[in-house]
């Protein structure tokens, strides 16, 4: 079999289907960033599988010229688990949204992270139900007025990152929906990472929740409101590159370099690989600055690796190679 990987361009990954998201939707940015990232990953097109649930985001697989399944609401992570276990050689991507993964599919979401199946999950978070036309979601804010909360939402939201840390996610990145460059880069990193990679995209819904992340993502404010972390680098942000994070007791604190005697070397260095996720959880929780980039990337054995090792061990020690060995073994008798 031919093992060389062809040189692909982003066009090789675009299907013949017309993209049907609303004009101006961040989903287009994610799609295009993915089509650009895939040729850089060194994997064969036929080895790529996109599996989605239900929702606007979940139409994604139809637009990718790879293997794909648009499944049922909330179940993509469980389906992807089966696909990956069946063939660990595949590059398996789950496309999901805040309703799909954090409401109806919450159980599969936490368990896939717990098991650490080597798949990639892109969570399109727009803090609203789009496809069903504007109901609040598990990430909608308190007070948010939606079709099902005309007087304001009274259900406190999940923070996807914090939930993921609670489920022991080994890889978590958060990205702005209007930052294709960072997306492409992060998708490549997610594919390299051995284990479940979760990427939350703060995705604007132009119709039902327009401007939901503008306070962090608008070009005029983003440098001041977002902290784009990078492993091994100090956590510095701001137009002037003079703001940073320090640890004050058990809390993260924003400080200004040059004020009150704060020096650049006082700023925390980001360690995405740290096994203990306490600081990663605190970073995921922050609202100012909104932390973006790869917050956590701490590898350990994947579920498939553990299964594979165990299977090899059992095979090596077993007297059974064919089912007949089993059927005729033990307590049989002649009539």
């Amino acid at each position: 079999m031919d093992t060389a990987v062809k040189k692909y361009t982003f066009k090789d990954f675009a299907s013949d289907q017309e993209v049907r998201w609303c004009p101006g939707c961040d989903d287009y940015v994610i799609l295009r960033s993915m089509q650009k990232a895939l040729p850089e990953m060194g994997i064969k097109k036929e080895d790529v599988v996109f599996i989605s649930g239900i929702g606007c985001s979940s139409r994604f697989p139809y637009y990718m010229d790879t293997y794909g399944m648009h499944s049922i609401h909330g179940r993509a992570a469980a389906i992807a688990t089966g696909t990956k276990l069946a063939n660990p050689e595949l590059s398996v991507w789950t496309i999901t949204g805040d309703g799909d993964s954090l409401a109806i599919g919450g159980n599969h979401f936490i368990h896939v992270l717990r098991r650490n199946v080597n798949i990639n999950i892109i969570l399109f978070n727009n803090e609203i139900y789009g496809l069903t036309k504007g109901q609040f979601s598990p990430t909608s804010l308190i007070g948010q007025k939606t079709k099902t909360s005309p007087y304001g939402n009274t259900q406190p939201p999940f923070s996807p990152g914090v939930l993921a840390m609670g489920a022991n996610a080994r890889f978590f990145a958060r990205l702005a929906g209007n930052n294709p460059k960072e997306m492409t880069k992060t998708f490549i990193e997610a594919e390299k990472f051995q284990g479940t990679s979760l990427i939350e995209v703060m995705q604007n819904c132009v119709i039902f929740n327009d401007g939901c992340f503008t306070q962090y993502t608008d070009k005029t404010v983003r440098e001041d409101k977002q902290l784009l972390v990078e492993h091994g680098k100090p956590m510095i942000f701001g137009k002037e590159k003079n703001k940073g994070l320090i640890l004050n007791g058990l809390k993260l604190e924003v400080v200004t370099i040059g004020e009150n005697g704060v020096k650049e070397e006082d700023i925390l260095i980001h360690n995405a690989k740290e096994h203990d996720n306490t600081l990663h959880t605190m970073l995921a929780k922050l609202e100012y600055p909104m932390v973006t980039g790869i917050i956590r990337a701490s590898e350990e054995l994947t579920y498939e690796q553990r299964e594979d090792a165990l299977t090899k061990e059992v095979k090596a020690n077993s007297k059974f190679t064919k089912v007949d060995d089993l059927f005729f073994s033990g307590e049989t008798y002649e009539v």
């Binding site: 007949d324 089993l326 008798y333």
Partner: protein, 615 residues
């Protein structure tokens, strides 16, 4: 009152071991079963235990029982009227005495007939003293004290000592039925290899019980049951759940595919998962999922990637899986769903049997969503039906729902072992690597079966998308075209219907024409077969028995079989589900029905009585 021991030859006997759920009755029963099978008897078993793992000691609802039917003749059911009842406490006596034939034998542990235990069993007076058991032969044995005595000085704790009293009872029964102790003694050695003192204690108690019975002149009879005339070959005792698991192992090996099981624990189906997790040496991927839905959806993911994928559950779990099964159906991927039925609705009777999921299996999904539905009918043939389910799903590219039930899943019988070489071949629709994809469309169909091809990820040039939205009849792209939806709905139904072309005819046993046709499906085979046999062979009545294993679609000749009989009675352990399908499919016939919804199998006597009213 010494009665001389005598030997009596019997062609079959039914024995029930009953006690507290912690008394080890299941193990005692299985040992007696294995020993009898190895001796050459035909056997059938029926474990009957409470849902509570350790219900309060001595309580009526904590009684656990194991019934075994052994014979020198063909044994199709675990029997109903008992020849011997072994009771470890008053609650066990109270809940089981009705099943014992008058004049027959009870062995009781008198040590357990304390005031407290009698009260717990709601006895106003001690049945051993008040004459209420005068119609039976009661053998009173102080089993607990005799066990303690036998084990004194071994340095065992009290709990370990009392726990081995079941072996005293087994020893007695071994002597009564001329069974050899060797198999059980061997079993102890293996099971307690790391605790030789426990092995020794159990062996000692078993022998003590055996010799006690031998010397006890109170036991009036011992019984001889000759080996039965079963076809020659190598056998083993197997229960339905193990046989189901092994059927899938065989199908995976024969088809050259890897087996993937996605499952979530549920009574009485968990034993299939317990069995398949053991077989990593065959490359089995048995995945215990976070819930029922992940069980089936992980299997769908594995099927998409090219594994032989199955999911196992019981009624409540099937309800949860419904939407995903519909997905597998519209994707037209191979998938086997096993429903080991239990008493419903809702949580119902988890440890009891019922056939009340048939309509759920047929229709329990949104939209027009037909599946192939088949049912196993005996513990051992669960092997064949699991194998057949895998073969059908792979060859027809549509999900298969296999129904078994708690009765055959937990019941066991001799299985004439099948070698993989004796099993029919299984083909699949996978597209070979290197195939040319130019003329291929996702929903191109085989002209005979209407099955589509199975293009699995990793196959170059066949990249495609599938999904739960209605798809274009050729490309598989999303389609809302009205006529296309109607076409696709009909062709998916037609694909299931065409399975008729590859399944055998329905047969009527005993008589191919006559006055009454007994119709059943699934796990009631043994009861219906025995009852019909009795009337047809012993009494010469014109009665036949037709049993469905293929339910959707039904065999082509079904109407022709029905037409040969004056009357038809449909017998089911539900409120009338198959009969509803039959009335809809075959409105030209009149169907009587006999239904039982007690969480218990049919008894042969109730059936013969009912049938006689129609003859």
């Amino acid at each position: 009152m010494a009665i001389k021991n005598k030997e009596e030859a019997l062609d079959h006997v039914v024995i029930r071991f009953v006690g507290d759920s912690g008394d080890g009755m299941q193990l005692t029963g299985m040992q007696f079963t294995d020993t009898s099978a190895m001796f050459g008897n035909d056997v059938a078993t029926f474990p009957n235990y409470p849902a509570e793992i350790r219900a309060p000691q001595g309580s009526l609802y904590g009684v656990s029982g194991f019934q075994v039917h052994i014979g020198s003749v063909e044994i199709c059911t675990p029997g109903e009227d008992l020849d011997l009842l072994v009771c470890m406490n008053p609650a066990a006596l109270k809940t089981n005495i009705e099943a014992l034939k008058p004049g027959h034998t009870i062995i009781v542990d008198t040590d357990s007939f304390t005031k407290k235990n009698l009260e717990k069993a709601l006895y106003a007076s001690n049945p051993l003293e008040d004459g209420s058991l005068n119609n039976y032969r009661v053998i009173e044995v102080a089993m607990t004290s005799l066990t303690k005595e036998a084990l004194s000085g071994m340095g065992l704790d009290n709990k370990s000592i009392t726990r081995s009293k079941n072996m005293f009872a087994l020893g007695m029964v071994y002597w009564m039925y001329h069974r050899d102790m060797e198999h059980t003694l061997d079993f102890f050695k293996k099971k307690f290899a790391k605790k030789p003192i426990i092995a020794e204690a159990n062996s000692k108690v078993l022998k003590t019980g055996f010799y006690f019975a031998e010397t006890l002149e109170l036991i009036p009879n011992s019984y001889v049951i000759a080996p039965s005339k079963m076809p020659k070959g190598q056998y083993r005792i197997i229960n339905g759940n193990t046989a189901t698991a092994w059927g899938f192992l065989a199908a995976a090996e024969k088809s050259g595919l890897e087996l993937f099981l996605g499952s979530y624990p549920i009574t009485p189906a968990s034993d299939i998962l317990h069995e398949l997790v053991k077989h990593k040496h065959f490359g089995v991927k048995a995945f215990q999922a976070e819930d029922e839905i992940a069980g089936v959806t992980s299997a769908i993911g594995a099927s998409f990637a090219g594994d032989l994928a199955i999911t196992t559950t019981s009624g409540p779990g099937l309800a949860l899986k419904g939407e995903a099964v519909g997905l597998a159906m519209i994707l037209e991927l191979p998938l086997v769903i096993v429903d080991v039925q239990r008493g419903g609705p809702s949580t119902g009777l988890p440890t009891k049997t019922e056939q009340s999921d048939l309509l759920q299996a047929m229709y329990g999904r949104n939209g027009e969503s037909p599946l192939i539905v088949i049912a196993a009918s005996t513990p051992a043939n669960c092997f064949d039906w699991a194998y057949e389910a895998a073969k059908l799903t792979l060859e027809h590219m549509t999900p298969v729902l296999l129904l078994t039930d708690g009765y055959i899943a937990n019941g066991s019988e001799p299985w004439k072992i099948k070698s993989i070489n004796d099993m029919p071949s299984i083909s699949n629709k996978k597209i070979a690597a290197g195939s040319n994809s130019e003329a291929w469309n996702v929903y191109d169909r085989d002209t005979e079966t209407l099955a589509r091809a199975w293009a699995i990820p990793g196959t170059e040039g066949f990249e495609h998308r599938v999904g739960g939205l209605e798809k274009d009849k050729t490309t598989g792209n999303v389609s809302y075209v009205p006529k296309n939806h109607e076409y696709m709905t009909k062709i998916r139904a037609e694909k299931v219907q065409r399975v008729q072309n590859s399944i055998p005819d329905l047969k009527a046993d005993f008589n191919e024409e006559g006055d009454l046709l007994v119709v059943g499906w699934g796990g009631t085979f043994g009861s219906l077969h025995s009852a019909t046999k009795k009337l047809a062979e012993d009494e010469g009545l014109k009665i036949g028995h037709a049993h469905f294993n293929y339910i959707n679609p039904m065999p082509k000749n079904t109407a022709a079989v029905f037409a040969k009989f004056k009357k038809i009675i449909v017998c089911e352990l539900n409120n009338g589900q198959l009969v509803m399908l039959l009335r809809s499919n075959f409105p030209e016939f009149i169907f009587s029905q006999y239904n039982k919804i007690q969480g218990l199998p049919f008894g042969a006597n109730e059936l013969t009585q009912k049938f006689k009213t129609l003859l």
